[in-house]
């Protein structure tokens, strides 16, 4: 059984259908009587709507209905919500402007949804959408993160004076100020964390169906969390009562955060299918994805570190302005606050930290979680600043990190910023990374590169992140409106095969394989007899979905708990069948045995007995089907050191990543091949942010990077082969001993890449994305 159990490099069973084009995505599903939706979007970044004339559109061929925002409001649908009530602004609540699913008198970014046209065909819907006449009175726009809250800027929402959502101080300012006053040295940096468009391969899509007989709405959609969508759509958007709404996320082609949120389009499709009593389909085109998916990152930060004469960190001070876009997306306020400031200790024993985050509104698409969410921003800032500190102190970048690491014997470690790290061994990871990357040989490689006219640089990044999201009590204390447990159901069928229902959702992560390995390992059932089922609120009992690298650390434990219950129940059934005392029954490798005898029966036989209970223990329920919920006791804290080596062409500014090493602590690995895939993808995501991806709006609020012609996604030739190592520790709070791995690469990579480029050129800092021109200019300045 070991070849398909925990630790085995099992090939992903789902890839067979994906690679052969047999996946079934939302847009693949077509039903009888289906109509198409096309959204009328604002071409202006900021404008008052003086009027909407739908007459010509309504009269166009094939049009079923045209709905402006008033129709939606009249039915009491929406508005969209932010599911987090924090953070407070000096004790006052953050400013949360209304976010109608179809505009009410005003639009606030290019792509803002104004009306929807429903027609017999997609082409007819698009033709008619062009006929909706919207009378806009354009207003001046503000798109700059740094300038949004300045005097004299256009005001976007009446409820948010100065365009400020919140201004959140955190930490002991007086103590930090005192430490700075007595510091041997203060190192500082100002930087931008570039805005990204998440861009999963499959754009968002929805298909709404209304059953007038049962009054149920079924919404197939691109979702990372079907039950969360159902909950919010039912409880807050008044789409339908929860028991009359089914949300299905079939195969989903990547999410990276962008498919967590409750957006206008999916809500409107769900509402419209009942309104017109016809199925309604909508699939975003790539332009819509660029304009109207939630974006990520977009911070401007100044940070300072106070150091003593040995290079020990005494205190950290951080001022960040975070752009939240035009409205609050579903989890927007949590990202630049709790997922950011609570990670500012990094891997270091910095005793005092004070941060102040100002979150601002701009006339841009809403900003929310994107792979890493807050943690890449914290890590980039910190790991760039640590390199500056090393330079200022004349220390090697690895030495300053080593001097400040939280020691291995200090775990669990309470940081000064709320989080209590479960386990870690940062120095071992660093040592292993130094060896794998052959740091001692770097000088000779750099010399050889110089001969070829290239500048070679090396950069380190020692990150920690908080994932396995999250203990419900902690979520509640932070103003989150949900619990972040996970649920599972493990069902034996009478014939001995097993169905595993998980509340997490796989959209590229390989759960169908990883979770089957877990069950295979624990129950001893052949791997091929296990099917993992997810993504349908009508099949899965409940779930909170997949994001924040939580599926294995939280969802996997729920599955293991359900398996424990089955094993325990099976002991009673086996004891009765084998005429032994329950206490004498042992379970291993899929078999129940009577201790000290050769009596045995397989778990499949026990399952059969449970469904055909002709000879069955008294008081035991028939059936072999158990469910479990698991609420984690703590976050999970993966950590590691990444090393990037680059060669810069000083004549063009072109950067080649010539080597990349990652040594990570993910706890126990269930499928190392899938973990490596996640690490590779995460690193490439981080390389994309560091070198390529820069979402830009013009001053007038037009999105300048609205297609792949102008927005550079990383491709295979932007990355080298990776050297991957592991320095696992055993997290005491996780029953499976696992951490999360999905976001680590995207968190660790950006500072490693930029540190390497800065090292190569010999400059203190350069901004992301480090495009050829940016790097060329830095080279010119360094000459």
């Amino acid at each position: 059984m070991q070849d398909t159990g925990i630790g085995a490099r099992v090939r992903r069973k789902e890839d067979q259908r994906f690679l052969l084009g047999k996946g079934r995505y939302t847009d693949d599903i077509n039903v009888a009587g289906q109509t198409w939706a096309c959204f009328v979007r604002s071409p202006h970044a900021h404008a008052v709507i003086e009027g909407i004339d739908t007459a010509a559109a309504a009269a166009a061929p094939g049009v079923v209905a045209v709905f402006p925002g008033d129709d939606l409001a009249a039915d009491g649908i929406g508005p969209l919500i932010c599911g987090v009530t924090g953070p407070s602004d000096h004790g006052e609540p953050h400013r949360a402007p209304a976010h109608p699913a179809l505009a009410q008198g005003k639009v606030n970014y290019v792509g803002d949804h104004v009306a929807v046209v429903i027609a017999e065909t997609l082409a007819q819907a698009r033709d008619a959408a062009e006929l909706v006449e919207v009378d806009y009175r354009p207003l001046a726009a503000v798109t700059s993160t740094a300038a949004a809250a300045s005097e004299g800027q256009p005001q976007i929402h009446d409820v948010a004076p100065g365009n400020v959502c919140f201004n959140w101080p955190f930490g002991d300012k007086a103590a930090v100020d005192e430490a700075f006053a007595g510091a041997h040295k203060v190192s500082s940096i100002e930087l931008t964390n570039n805005r990204m468009v998440t861009n999963p391969m499959e754009p968002r899509a929805a298909l709404g169906e209304y059953n007038a007989g049962t009054e149920e709405i079924t919404l197939h959609m691109t979702t990372q969390n079907p039950h969360v969508h159902r909950l919010v759509l039912a409880a807050f958007n008044q789409l339908a009562p929860e028991h009359k709404l089914r949300v299905v996320g079939p195969d989903v082609g990547g999410g990276f955060g962008a498919k967590i949120f409750v957006y206008a389009e999916e809500l409107v499709v769900g509402w419209a299918c009942r309104k017109v009593n016809r199925p309604v389909k909508w699939t975003a085109d790539r332009t819509e994805a660029f304009l109207a998916d939630a974006h990520g990152r977009d911070h401007v930060t100044k940070a300072e570190m106070a150091l003593d004469e040995h290079g020990k960190f005494l205190a950290l001070r951080v001022h960040t302005t975070a752009n939240l876009g035009a409205y609050l997306s579903t989890f927007a306020t949590m990202v630049p606050s709790y997922l950011y400031a609570f990670l500012l200790a990094g891997q270091y024993s910095t005793p005092l930290i004070h941060s102040e985050v100002k979150a601002v509104f701009t006339n841009t698409a809403p900003v929310d979680a994107s792979r890493g969410a807050g943690r890449p921003e914290a890590t980039y800032l910190l790991e760039r600043l640590v390199d500056i500190c090393a330079a200022d102190m004349g220390l090697d970048p690895t030495e300053i990190r080593r001097r400040n690491f939280i020691p291995q014997d200090a775990f669990p470690y309470q940081t000064p910023v709320v989080q209590c790290y479960d386990s870690g061994d940062y120095e071992t990871a660093l040592d292993q990374a130094i060896e794998l990357a052959d740091y001692p040989g770097f000088a000779s490689r750099a010399a050889a590169a110089k001969e070829r006219g290239k500048l070679r640089g090396i950069g380190f990044s020692s990150y920690v992140e908080a994932c396995g999201i999250a203990p419900s009590a902690a979520v509640g204390q932070l103003g989150g409106g949900v619990g972040l447990w996970e649920s599972a159901q493990v069902r034996f069928n009478p014939t001995g095969n097993v169905q595993v229902f998980t509340g997490t959702h796989s959209h590229g992560q390989g759960h169908e394989t990883t979770f089957a390995q877990l069950v295979c390992d624990q129950l001893g059932v052949p791997f091929e007899n296990i099917e993992v089922i997810h993504g349908d609120t009508a099949k899965t009992q409940f779930g909170m979905g997949t994001y924040g690298s939580r599926s294995l650390a939280v969802g996997g434990v729920a599955i293991a708990k359900a398996c424990d219950k089955l094993i325990a129940k099976g002991k009673k059934i086996a004891a009765h069948a084998m005429e032994a005392a329950e206490g004498d029954i042992e379970f291993a490798d899929g078999n129940y045995t009577v201790a000290g005898t050769d009596k045995a029966m397989s778990i499949a036989e026990v399952a059969f007995n449970a469904y055909v209970p002709h000879n069955y223990p008294e008081g035991v329920e028939p059936g072999f089907d158990e469910n479990a919920f698991f609420d984690p006791m703590n976050f999970s804290f993966p950590a590691g050191t990444h090393v990037c080596e680059v060669e810069v062409d000083p004549d063009t500014g072109e950067v080649e990543i010539v080597a990349y090493t990652a040594v990570d602590d993910f706890g126990k690995l269930v499928n190392p091949m899938i973990v490596e895939g996640q690490v590779h993808g995460g690193i490439v995501h981080g390389i994309g942010q560091a070198l390529l991806e820069g979402c830009q709006y013009g001053e007038d609020g037009q999105l300048l990077t609205a297609s792949f012609m102008d927005y550079a996604m990383p491709r295979a030739d932007n990355a080298p082969d990776f050297k991957i190592g592991y320095a696992p520790t055993d997290p005491p709070d996780n029953p499976l001993g696992v951490k999360g791995c999905g976001e680590a690469g995207a968190i660790g990579a950006p500072p490693a890449v930029i540190n390497a480029i800065a090292n190569a050129i010999g400059v203190r800092h350069l901004e992301m994305p480090a495009t050829p021109e940016t790097v060329w200019r830095a080279c010119q300045a360094a000459r």
Binding site: L691, L692, L704, F708, D710, A712, P772, W776, R777
Partner: protein, 264 residues
């Protein structure tokens, strides 16, 4: 996409007749620019005349020192052609680095030069190699063909049939790619010919052009060092979110030096 009438003629004569009759007709070759533009509803031709069924527009023929490439020959076929790789390896290499495999298998030589994107690769080769563009009406010298951004010497209803590329003594093309689109931010094509070096630059200005000043600098010694003091005029350069005019001007020199060095 808006509605249009689709035609698939079997001959150049039939294609010419169709475009003359159409209210606002468009030839479509590989469609790599036209179709996305139509999908975005930025173009709405009344008639689309698909050149894909015209056998006489396809193929590669070498006749003495002239390599003739049919207008409908796909980039991938040029890249893979033994004849082109032997006669003008730089041209085969250029074709093999346009876009991505899907683009290379649909996009065509004729489509590329007729569209005259300011950042396209083929125009630089047509100019620097001193090629002749043959249409259904006449012959046009390569360097007279490209007249402005997305503009060419082609008349309204004129159709490119083939391009004749004279074989140079040596040639090289160096392209600095836009990281997003992989079009040329700057591309420089250098050809050594009997009368002297010929140089064309793409990506840098409104459209590909013959770089006389670079040629003059190379008249004495055709090597990279000869360009050490060369400065491209910043004021003529394109500027966009990917590259400033100053950076483009710098890249013209760097790419020219590299192309000269590779042109052996």
């Amino acid at each position: 996409m808006y509605e249009f009438s689709y035609h698939r003629p079997a001959s150049v004569a039939e294609a010419a007749a169709l475009i003359t009759r159409a209210v606002d007709g468009k030839f479509v070759a590989g469609g790599q620019t036209l179709l996305p533009t139509m999908k975005h509803r930025l173009a709405s031709p009344s008639d689309m005349i698909d050149l894909g069924g015209i056998a006489e527009l396809e193929g590669i023929v070498v006749n003495g020192n002239i390599v003739t490439i049919g207008a409908m020959t796909a980039h991938a076929d040029v890249a893979a052609s033994t004849e082109v790789r032997e006669a003008i390896p730089a041209l085969a290499a250029l074709a093999g680095n346009i876009g991505d495999p899907a683009v290379r298998n649909r996009g065509t030589l004729g489509g590329s030069i007729a569209n005259n994107d300011p950042a396209a690769d083929y125009p630089a080769a047509v100019i620097a190699l001193g090629a002749t563009v043959r249409t259904n009406q006449r012959e046009i010298a390569g360097e007279d063909f490209f007249t402005g951004m997305f503009e060419t010497a082609l008349e309204e209803d004129e159709l490119i049939v083939a391009v004749d590329f004279p074989r140079p003594e040596a040639a090289a093309y160096m392209k600095f790619e836009n990281p997003a689109s992989r079009y040329a931010i700057v591309g420089v094509f250098v050809a050594r010919t009997a009368p002297g070096p010929r140089v064309a630059v793409t990506g840098a200005t409104a459209c590909a052009h013959r770089a006389h000043r670079l040629e003059e600098a190379l008249q004495g010694a055709c090597n990279a060092a000869a360009l050490d003091d060369f400065r491209a005029p910043v004021e003529r350069m394109n500027a966009d979110i990917h590259a400033s005019a100053e950076y483009r001007a710098h890249l013209v020199k760097v790419m020219a030096q590299r192309a000269v060095a590779a042109c052996v």
